[in-house]
Symmetry: C2
Subunit: 210 residues, 2 copies
DNA sequence: CGCTTATGGATACTGATACTATCCATCACA
DNA sequence: TGTGATGGATAGTATCAGTATCCATAAGCG
């Protein structure tokens, strides 16, 4: 495949493909002469993955790059690969909550994790986000929602179980890693849109008339 | 409160507050003289909400504005307000999936909605995203995940139930609307970080050794 | 063989977003 | 009375995600 055909096959404009090549999201094609390269099926698949992450899941280009790098390092233990992807996915927190709100939230979150028996490291990136979110919800007067944190965790565990099931039948380790990462990221988009639909439906039922 | 005190109270820099005022995210303070305004507690709360949406939930400024406008229009039926917020929250899709993949995804999604008895309008913004996501997952060879769509929907309904419960005890309609919107948006951040934690824990258990 | 088109690679430009910075003519208040 | 903050306006900045342009070369067609 030449670049034009790759573009046609995926619907991604040639200049954009060139941009991804420049940024190292997409590996270079095989050069047959100084200005002629050929791309294979792997390129097309990779490109489709890139677009899904960027368009659908709104993952920034730099983050996509990190994620792909972690996917490509198949010497690394799977758990490490996933951790890297998680880290790339979690924006470094900008503190904003007051200290007391954070303290209360930290306690609640630690208790939740202990109660669930989750084994997460203290510096897990998602931990800070969770604490900040709980603190924010409290600060915004939404303790009604925070009170159900445990129920949220219940439902979330359900997702995780679904995903494990949908993913562990992958034959090779590379495919497994890819599935986990795709599942993590596009799964979020999936859940978000399902949630919006469910809400719309409920809202229509409950509040048709004010 | 003068603007400096508002800044101190919320941790938001003065120039940023001025920017939000310019953009119409924050209503102007009460002018006592041409260059002296006073801000109340409502401003502080509003500002904290703005920051939570922008920092934590990564909602674009323009979208925050739309959402706040819908919150402030308390003549509108609640269901309409929520619909407006949903629309603001859903980026207008740029099509990318192939026609056949979209067709298959559309069928699967319609069946899901019918089976669940959800009442969603055909032009619901989240519907397009869901279809695109399902199509993308298929295209990326993740039919293992798509096969469990129904289980995802199950878990999602669980969230919705939790939220309804945590939210309907709000006394006034305005507070109810605010809770729903905050719950929708920060709830997503909450779910996302919980999911990452649950995954990390599972991944540690299952794949410690490659 | 010649001509049009496509290509790889490099560099420059663009539009959107979210702030920051600067100015200035007031005002508050010590 | 003068030092610092304020409201309002305008301008500047950094980052991001592409687009556009150039050029020398290569491919495919007639």
């Amino acid at each position: 495949m030449r670049i034009g055909e790759l573009s046609k096959a995926t619907g991604v404009p040639v200049p954009t493909i060139k941009y991804y090549l420049r940024e190292g999201l997409l590996p270079a094609g095989e050069l047959s002469s100084p200005n002629q390269a050929s791309y294979g099926d792997a390129h097309a698949r990779r490109l489709r993955l890139i677009r899904a992450l960027i368009e659908l899941a709104q993952v920034p280009v730099a983050t996509v790059k990190e994620i792909l790098e972690s996917l490509d390092s198949d010497t690394e233990p799977l758990h490490e690969q996933i951790g890297r992807a998680h880290r790339a996915l979690t924006p470094t927190r900008r503190l904003s909550a007051t200290d007391e709100a954070r303290a209360a939230a930290t306690t609640q979150v630690s208790e939740l994790i202990a109660a669930r028996g989750w084994s997460v490291e203290a510096d897990a990136p998602a931990l800070a986000t969770l604490v900040d979110t709980v603190a924010a919800l409290r600060t915004l007067g939404q303790e009604g929602l925070v009170a159900h944190l445990d129920d949220y965790a219940d439902a979330v565990e359900r997702f995780t179980r679904i995903e494990i099931e949908g993913v562990t039948k992958n034959p090779t380790r590379d495919q497994l890693a890819e599935s986990v990462v795709i599942g993590t990221i596009l799964g979020e988009t999936l859940i978000a849109s399902l949630r919006l639909l469910a809400q719309e439906s409920i809202s229509a039922d409950l509040w048709k008339n004010r």
